[in-house]
Subunit: 240 residues, 4 copies
């Protein structure tokens, strides 16, 4: 059985972010997931100290900061999929959601410690809600970030609502939210049991040789094609 974690980055539990997140978790349950929800504003989450800018190896799990992330880290590790639900504050996630994201670096940076990224292969969904605009800007950066942490992004992993109308009447958005829960769960089941390490192929001699061969081939092509093009440009320039 897969576990899906819903992360609420809004200060409200009764608001639209929370509403869509609850819908998504219902969708996850429909597909057989065990679900949990956390409201970030209920926890003490201190901002990242960026230790790795002092020393690449200083950032690793567990984080040096002693706060409520200790509990939240556990929940992240226990989850197959995570749905990040955030209000849109100035075209981006709330500062609290941002702090939570930044603090996940300890998992990603394990690449330098034990050679694996501890969030690799988890599945992500994103919900973003605001009063007017910035939904896509919010989820594009979030999606890029999560993917760089090794998350899988399943099809249509996002739901955006940024109008001031009554959300309970917006069928398409409600459907998007429920589908996020469903899709994150279905994808989580699809990849369950895969060992972490899709990414890591460092030290593979066959690969090293291949790179060298391709580099050689391409360099040869460069030496024959590149100069001729440069000449061509210079020729065009002279004619002017």
């Amino acid at each position: 059985m897969v576990t899906i974690l819903g992360v609420n980055g809004s200060p409200r539990k009764y608001g639209n972010v929370s509403f869509l997140l609850n819908l998504a978790l219902k969708g996850a349950e429909m597909e057989g997931a065990k679900v949990r929800i956390i409201h970030l504003y209920d926890y003490d989450i201190k901002p990242c100290l960026g230790c790795l800018s002092d020393d690449q190896y200083a950032c690793r799990y567990p984080c040096v900061i002693e706060d409520d992330m200790r509990k939240l880290y556990e929940m992240v590790l226990e989850s197959n999929g995570i749905i990040f639900a955030t209000p849109i504050y100035w075209y981006a996630p709330s500062g609290v959601m941002k702090n939570f994201i930044d603090r996940l670096t300890v998992f990603e940076n394990m690449l330098y410690i034990d050679g694996t990224c501890w969030t690799e292969g988890k599945v992500a969904g994103i919900i973003a809600v605001g009063n007017d605009s910035g939904g896509v800007n919010t989820f594009s950066t979030l999606m890029a970030t999560l993917n760089s942490m090794g998350f899988i992004i399943p099809p249509w992993a996002t739901a955006v609502f940024n109008k001031m109308s009554d959300i309970t009447k917006e069928r398409n958005v409600l459907l998007d939210a429920i589908n996020i829960g469903r899709i994150v769960t279905m994808m989580s089941k699809r990849v369950e049991g895969l060992e972490r390490k899709w990414f890591k192929v460092i030290g593979d001699q066959e690969l090293e040789n291949m790179i060298n061969d391709i580099a050689l081939t391409v360099n040869k092509e460069k030496n024959t094609q590149w100069p001729s093009r440069k000449k061509e440009i210079l020729k065009l320039r002279k004619q002017q």
Copy 2:
């Protein structure tokens, strides 16, 4: 056997974009994929006419524009995974790559015609190469776009190179490129045979009822919690 399509959005065949794309396709072959490459600058790809802003149902496959996209559409449909390789021109894909992306709308908009998105479930990788900066800005928008077309984004689906040094000496970037090919292929195999329609659940009565139930519950909570909060804010305001 899965087919991976490499799409080169650079005017150069001997340049860094093409180099990394070729590496990625070698990585795909390592995992057993059949690969193809297309150089967009070799084709006549006219810009999108945005028909759907006249009529939501006017945009559908085949596109009304008669040009080389006719051939390229076929190749897209035949592929399980697609690797989009683009130069970084002003923090974004090249105009030619952008035109190619825009023209894929005919597949996505089939949602309104036959209820399915024809790119759903395909797997995407992204390569972005430039002289200095803008790599993340390029791939975040591209990733968001492709996901909204139903593409799956596997872990670490991106390779960026934006220095002016000799790319053949940048082992990490070469490794990233090869891994994109591998990962896109592995994910393609993992989801092979899934029917299109992960997303579409319109017309499901159980779902409709569930939405109504949740909406009711949340509305109740709003009516009990929201006013008290508003009062609280007004109280704070008065004290000032």
Copy 3:
């Protein structure tokens, strides 16, 4: 005399963010500005509560939250130009910088209270520093945000550094930083004395009439040109 405020969103005072910010402020002094620097990590800055999602008029200066922003708000108001210097944490500003930005909403939302935005006409510069990538993604969202708060963005208002080399040897970046200070100051002087209210023209009857006239004209054109185009598309469709 104009005042330029440097805002450090990094946990370090001895790091690269702080270094470039100090350079920028030297550049500002070269042009005759009075400068101040604040290190956000030294202050207690609570996250935004998003009051305006409860009530559009609830968000206004002073913010209901009682914390160190009280002091910082004053400094923002007293400044003609502000240089936002942030580490790049996951392709975006640090969570602490994000909280600071979010809390500035009280000034922007004064549009609904007294008809003016209190940050209108201030001049912004941006410094973003990281280990590898995401500089453009960081400053594009930040720039869009600040502009939507009424800030002027002078030419080349950004400096990015995202390598792991010794920054003190990167002349171009150092120059960019100093220039940000100079340019923000020069622009601040150029617009000094302008009354706030460039934006606000609500209630202008001449404008209302003009809008109506143009709307009428364009509608006429639509009625003559739009249908013919629709016909054309339908005709193309039929031929397929």
Copy 4:
């Protein structure tokens, strides 16, 4: 008298992009500007060849490509302000607008040829129109790009419309559009007569010396503060 150029990146002349652009130009005329409009789809604009990736000095005005940009380049040079109006195609400008932007690189890259950027000090406004979302994502990248070409971004330089309702009834958006014209004009007048070269300070000996001094000071601080912090982190690590 200042000249404001309106650039329409939509295939439609009767659509919403064109409508808002026309409003913006009326706003510009209200402030005394001379205005011109160009519809990019009427011109043959070939995609950028990225010459500077072959040779940094190969890209310069006039561009080696002989097409209609020859005329458009002239119009850009003659303008004090430019309003870029684009449909939102997949969270970004249309491919045609992108090609136009990419081709402006010849002006920016003059920095390497004659030491000045030929678009420096021009003023930019942005209009983005779509059916649903992506407005902010579109203008944030565009704004970052134009600023990196030396454009000034005046307060509230953007208007976004992304609903399917009748635009002629959306007073706020119409007002935003007119204001863009006004503000771009007002700012153009404010900076008229400034010599190009705000940015360029290369070769300034005083500046070089200053950089060296600051670098020395900061390095000293690093040597005293950095090690202690590293020790502190290591100490924390050991306690775990």
